[in-house]
Every structure is written in C-alpha cells, then in structure tokens.
C-alpha cells in the first residue's frame, strides 16, 4: 500500500495541462500515481485545495544581510514555503549589496538551513551604482544564477553595452528595470488624465518602451541575454514581442499586481497602490493587451 494519499485535491500542472479533482499517491516522498479512489496508509483530505508543482519566485528581496531584524533568509524561505513557493532567487539589493563572490557564498550557506531551493542573483554593478562592472565571471562560478541591477536601470548605454557583451562570455542572464531615469523622475503613478487630475507626477509608458527598445538593440549587438525586469505597459510588451521576433534573447517578467490591478486602484490616494513600476491605465495593462 502507498505511504500517503492526498485525496480530493485540485491537481494543477501547467506542464501536462492537467487541472482536475483527483487523488495523489506518494511513496518514499515521490509521487507515484495521480488517479481516483486511491488508498494509502496515511490519508490527507485536501477538500478541493490546489496541489501544484512548487512555485518559483525569481525576485525575492530579503532582509539578510543588513536588516535581519525584519527578515532572514530562513524566515523568508519559511514564508515562501507556506505560500507554495519552493524555489526563490534572492535579489542583490541588500546591505551590503551582493556584489562579491564571498556574499554569494554567504547566501548559499544560509540556504542550507532552509527547506526550499534558494538561489542568488548577483549585483550587475558594484554597489548597484549602475556604472562599475562586478566580477560576473567569478560570481557565476561561485553559483550566482543571474545578475540584476536591483530596482534601478543602467542608464548609461555604453555601460549597458559593455555589461551585455561581458556577460555574454559567461552566458549569464542579466536583468534590469526598464525605465528612463530622467523621464520617470519623481513619478509615483502612470501618466494619464486620471493621475494628472489627482496631481500626481506620472511616468509615461514611453519611459519603459524607450529603455526596452534601447536594451533590445544592445542585446542584439552584443549577443547577450537580458531579462526586462517587471514590465508594466502595453507598449512595453509590444516592444518585447518585436524584439523576440528578431530572435533577440530578451524576456520579461511581470508582477501579479500589474496583471490584476490598474491605476484606478489608487482611487482616493491609496498610497499602497502607488507602485514602481506604476499601475497603468485601465486599458493599457499588459495582461489586457494579450491577443
């Protein structure tokens, strides 16, 4: 008989396209069967809750190192696990910034104390200054799975070019936020008639689009691999699609907020809806532009 059966779970597996109520048989910690009316030594009734492969969160900002009073790698991992996330990639915008291979080692050491997979994203520039290249090769060898510039873009196109070219040698994935620092200066919302009426400084979608276009061109020039980190606008998505049609190794990520909410959620100055990147207009969120 099977060790453990989870009964009446909503089994979701995007890989195989499965989405049904079923029982899951587990033997020695491995799923051996997904079927109906299974029996086991131990039975858990899921009452229709979702059972799915562990989720991956590739943009986790933790408090360790720097503000361990707020959060540690261990507590972040526990929080992730309780939300069904079994793999996290921690971002380098900690204190100190993870811009050196010894810090990659440090995070990996902490990861051994957790029950989930913890990977590290190294900093793309020293202290995330947007100017000084970090030891991308040595950090890759030490185990960094990607390189991120935290919450900031690399505004200098020449430096971005060199970062993409240099990282291509190590086939390293690099990730930057897509906005133009001048166009987005002081912005806390999307630039629209609505936010203008509220008297908020808005970021035009063009700020995102210009940066993606620039970085797509530089990725094509250098043969690098770029992740556009947290896209928010329809124009941005269109720009990424155009680049991918040219076989440029460009991908993008989006936060759940930008799929589910729009600028109207700011409503009557609800500060927690003033996000970076800003929530876009009702008809311009990337989710709604999907054809």
């Amino acid at each position: 008989m099977t060790d453990l059966v989870i009964k009446n779970a909503r089994v979701m597996d995007p890989e195989s396209g499965r989405d049904e109520i079923a029982d899951i048989a587990i033997q020695n910690g491995v799923i051996t069967d997904i079927a109906h009316d299974l029996d086991g030594a131990e039975i858990i009734d899921a009452h229709g809750l979702i059972a799915a492969p562990g989720l991956i969160d590739m943009r986790v900002s933790t408090g360790e190192p720097g503000t361990e009073n707020r959060e540690t790698i261990v507590s972040a991992a526990a929080a992730a696990a309780s939300g069904g996330v079994t793999t996290i990639i921690v971002t380098p915008n900690t204190d100190p910034v993870i811009d050196d291979m010894s810090l990659i080692d440090f995070i990996q050491g902490r990861a051994l104390e957790t029950d989930i997979n913890v990977y590290v994203s190294g900093a793309l520039t020293k202290n995330l200054d947007g100017e000084t290249m970090t030891e991308i090769g040595l950090m890759s060898e030490a185990g960094a799975v990607m390189f991120s510039n935290g919450d900031m873009p690399v505004s200098d196109a020449l430096i971005m070019r060199r970062l993409l070219a240099y990282s291509a040698r190590y086939n390293a994935l690099i990730s930057t936020r897509p906005f133009d620092q001048n166009l987005s200066k002081g912005a806390c919302a999307h630039e629209s008639d609505f936010t203008a009426r509220l008297g908020l400084i808005g970021e035009p979608s063009a700020s995102e689009r210009i940066t993606i276009d620039r970085d797509a061109a530089l990725t094509e020039l250098t043969g690098g691999r770029l992740l556009i980190d947290m896209i928010s606008s329809r124009e941005g998505v269109e720009t990424v699609r155009r680049a991918r049609k040219r076989d440029i190794d460009l991908s993008c990520s989006v936060s759940i907020n930008h799929l589910a909410l729009n600028e109207m959620d700011i409503g009557d100055y609800r500060t927690f809806a003033k996000l970076n990147p800003p929530l876009r207009g009702g008809s311009t969120g990337p989710f709604r532009s999907r054809k």
């Binding site: 000084t132 970090t134 030891e135 991308i136 040595l138 040698r169 020039l221």
Partner: protein, 318 residues
C-alpha cells in the same frame, strides 16, 4: 638597394604593415637577421647612416621602442636627437602640423614618431620631406613591433612561419601591436587567433582573417605561440573588465592555462608587463617558455634593418 626576390625595396616610410608587400617584408626581416649578429650590429664601421639625422619624436612614454631606435640609429652611424615632448613646444600648445613644419625646416632624414592619435605619423609623412617611421600611433599600428616579433619567431621556428598557430590574447581593442601583428602574421601564413573578453575585442574582428575566442581553454588549443598583450590599468576597474582578480582568473597566462596550448608552446609579450594581471611571473621569467628578452634583442636588430632599408630607398631616388 636592398631587395628580395628581385623586388627592390622602394618604401619611403614605415607607417603600417599594410603598406608593405611580401618581398618588402622579406627584405626587412633578412636585414634584421643580418643585424642580429652582434659582430655586425656593433661593428665599428658605422657608415650606413653616416651624416644622417634621426629624430625620435615621442608624444607618449616609451622605454624599449625609443631606446632601441636610438641605439639602432647610433650603431648605423646616424646623429640621433631625442625630442621629449614634455620639454618641447608641444606643451605650450603647438599643433602637430606646426611641430612638423618646425622639424622639417631642420631637415631630419628620418623621423621616428609615437603619438596617441591614430594616423598622426601618416599625417606627418605627408608634411615632411624625410622618412617617417611609425613607432606606435593610437590604436592603429605598431609595425616595427610586429616585425621584431616575426624576427623573434624566425629565430625559434626557422624561416618559414607558415602554419604556425598563434594566439594573441588580451586587450585587442586598444592594441596597435595586435593590429600590426594580425596583418603581418597573416601575410606570413600563420593561423592567427584572438582571445579575450568580448569587451576587449572589436565587434567584427572575425573579419580580419582571424578566429575569435572568448575563453583561453578553446582559444589556446593547439597553439605554437601565445602572445600576451598589456592590459592598461584604467581598463580593469569596472569599465571593460571588473577587476584584476577576475581578469587574471579567466585570461591571465599562468602554467595551468599554458597547458591548453601545444606542448612546448612559446610565450611572447611586447612589454611592459603587468605581472599578475595578464601574465604570471613564473611564466614570464621562464627562459624555456618566454621569448620576451629575445623580443627586445630583435627590436634593435629589426630597427637597424628598417632604418637601413628606408635610407637606401631614399638615397636611390635622390
């Protein structure tokens, strides 16, 4: 007049490798070989350039190149003037063309120029009546270095360098030595490879008739010669490469990386070296591996050969 294969050497200047034909190169290399013999080189009969004036005009610092031109000129009997830019009117704001006009009025026979701007010696060659030798211009060419490297290789591998696989490693983008060597070694039938990080190799360098590699392990495979280039300090602080430490780890030549090359491969470096950055001291100083000292010896000989050939060619039209 000096000649090879019946082709007389008629070049008035030595500005770039691309100006020379294969017979010209043979002429220069065989003259260089002739002057490698110290009895010839230091012969008291200093008549070849007797009565001629050689001016060394160096707008950039140099030890090896300037001194070897000075020694080469003196050993051939020329009057050698060293113009240091630091103490000249250039520091007072004189333009290159004004300096050229001033020098021209003094009728030097040979002007040896090093300048940080690509093309400066070519410009001077148009404005001066004497012969101009390019001793390194910006990121363009350093033809006498390439010739001395070829002469050094001939001393080790014999006259025919055809088929030798040679890796030029490091900062190709900013290197005039690399550009001259790519052309010359290609002309001599070598298989040339460029190895370095993508930030230090020009985007389309694979169209120079070379194979481009970004890692030492595949780049050095089967190489007979590994030619290291100097990495300038200002390029290793996060602009082109992250740090000295990372550069040495991936591109610095040590004994471990040298094992990727052919057994018994030789190591060259145009100098000055950054020990522990592009090359480890034990490789640089190993007389069984390193040709670095021979390169300097060849430098004096090949420069005597170049001065000799240019002077003969000019006398011939006079």
């Amino acid at each position: 007049m000096a000649s090879s294969y019946g082709y007389p050497f008629k070049q008035q200047h030595c500005l770039s490798i691309s100006q020379f034909s294969r017979p010209d190169i043979e002429t220069l290399l065989s003259l260089g070989e002739h002057y490698l013999d110290l009895d010839v080189q230091k012969s008291p009969d200093r008549t070849i350039l007797a009565g001629k004036t050689l001016v060394n005009l160096f707008f950039e610092n140099s030890t090896r190149t300037q001194k070897s031109f000075e020694i080469a000129g003196r050993r051939l009997g020329a009057d050698v003037i060293n113009m240091s830019v630091a103490g000249s009117s250039v520091k007072k704001g004189e333009t290159l063309l004004d300096t050229a006009a001033t020098l021209n009025a003094m009728n030097p026979d040979i002007l040896v120029v090093r300048h940080n701007a690509s093309g400066a010696p070519a410009l001077l060659a148009q404005k001066l009546s004497g012969s101009v030798v390019n001793a390194g211009d910006g990121m363009h060419e350093h033809p006498t270095q390439a010739l001395l490297d070829a002469l050094t290789l001939r001393r080790v591998f014999g006259e025919d360098l055809g088929g030798l696989r040679i890796a030029i490693c490091g900062d190709i983008t900013h290197s005039r030595v690399a550009r001259s060597n790519v052309q010359l070694l290609n002309m001599l039938g070598c298989e040339v490879r460029l190895v370095g990080p993508p930030t230090l190799i020009p985007s389309d360098a694979d169209r120079w008739g070379v194979d481009v590699f970004h890692d030492m392990e595949t780049g050095l495979e089967g190489c007979d010669v590994v030619m290291m280039l100097r990495l300038q300090l200002e390029r290793m602080s996060g602009a082109f490469v992250p740090s000295k430490r990372e550069y040495f780890h991936f591109y610095g030549l040590d004994r471990a990386k040298l094992t990727y090359a052919k057994d018994g491969a030789k190591v060259m470096h145009p100098g000055p070296m950054n020990r522990g950055v592009e090359i480890s001291s034990d490789v640089a100083d190993d007389p069984h591996l390193s040709l670095i000292t021979q390169q300097v010896e060849s430098g004096v000989a090949i420069r005597m050969g170049i001065l000799h050939a240019l002077s003969d060619a000019r006398d011939d039209i006079a």
